[in-house]
């Protein structure tokens, strides 16, 4: 099982950052790689079990299911149902923790998945650096550091 761990710090209070990232249908509003997104069957985006169907800017289509969402602990867990990435059993969690020293936010994004062994290094790098750090960099730009 491959594991990805990416973490960063953004100069904004956790409640503000969480308000942006908690929307399971809101990736296009803050993640530069995501083009458009919708929730299947017209369900609310914070209904655990709902499925988002979104497209990357490169045209790839991905379907992901919301497995857990907590406004109290500020985390969101989801799995990939369908993607062209060649991953199985993919589960990811985005978690925010307040940094009391300076009203900043510690952001963690983790994933575990199975894949063909020869593709593991490339996938770990693409997901960790491209998707996760790419998202963190965008949040840092949006919140001014």
């Amino acid at each position: 099982m491959a594991k990805v761990y990416t973490s960063s710090v953004v100069n904004a209070p956790a409640a503000k950052v969480w308000a942006r990232v908690r929307d399971f249908n809101g990736l296009p509003a803050w993640h530069p790689a995501i083009g458009e997104s919708r929730i299947e069957n017209g369900e609310p985006a914070d209904k655990v079990g709902c499925i988002r169907d979104f497209r990357l800017r490169n045209g790839d289509r991905i379907r992901e299911q919301l497995l857990g969402l907590s406004d109290y602990d500020m985390f969101c867990t989801y799995s990939i149902l369908e993607s062209p990435m060649g991953v199985e059993n993919y589960v990811a969690t985005l978690r925010l923790t307040p940094v009391t020293d300076g009203a900043r936010t510690f952001m963690e994004w983790t994933a575990e998945f199975d894949c063909a062994p020869e593709r593991e290094a490339e996938l770990v790098s693409n997901i960790g650096t491209g998707v996760f750090q790419g998202g963190f960099d965008a949040l840092k730009r949006q919140f001014g550091g």
Partner: protein
């Protein structure tokens, strides 16, 4: 029951901060209020259940017991056994996490305790500012000095 939660970012790799923090007998090297530290019965400082006897700068003595330590999770927990101040049922947890963006360290330090109602605000200030926040600042300086 009062609860104090403090966290900070240290501009040093997590392994370096953990190497300093995990030494239950080494707080006198970085935590300003602590003058001297010794483990009772000469037990190893990473033996779960060991008790450290700590002398504060003002001469007071505190006994604390190591409840748990994990090098994998980079966490440890300890409780106060004896203290001259009205701080009861005190349990503290330390946790480090790597900040991969910049090879830094996220440090989370929290404590729960009870205190008489008249002393709770003072005890909360003591733990939050004079121990936890002061510890953050001196560890930050410590790591800067090591890097220089």
């Amino acid at each position: 029951m009062a609860r104090v939660v403090k966290s900070t970012i240290i501009d040093a790799p997590v392994d370096r901060v953990w190497a300093i923090l995990r030494d239950f007998n080494g707080f006198d090297r970085w935590l300003p209020p602590i003058k001297a530290s010794a483990i009772e019965r000469h037990l190893p400082a990473d033996l779960i259940g060991c008790v450290r006897r700590v002398q504060l700068q003002d001469g007071a003595e505190v006994r604390e017991q190591l409840l748990g330590l994990s090098d994998l999770e980079m966490t440890f927990s300890y409780c106060l056994l004896d203290t001259p101040i009205p701080l009861f049922n005190y349990v503290a947890h330390v946790r480090l996490l790597p900040v991969t963006d910049g090879n830094r360290t996220f440090w989370h330090w929290e404590a729960r305790f009870t205190a008489p109602a008249s002393a709770e605000a003072d005890m909360t200030h003591l733990v939050a500012e004079l121990i936890f926040q002061a510890g953050f600042e001196s560890m930050r300086n410590n790591c800067k000095a090591l890097a220089a």
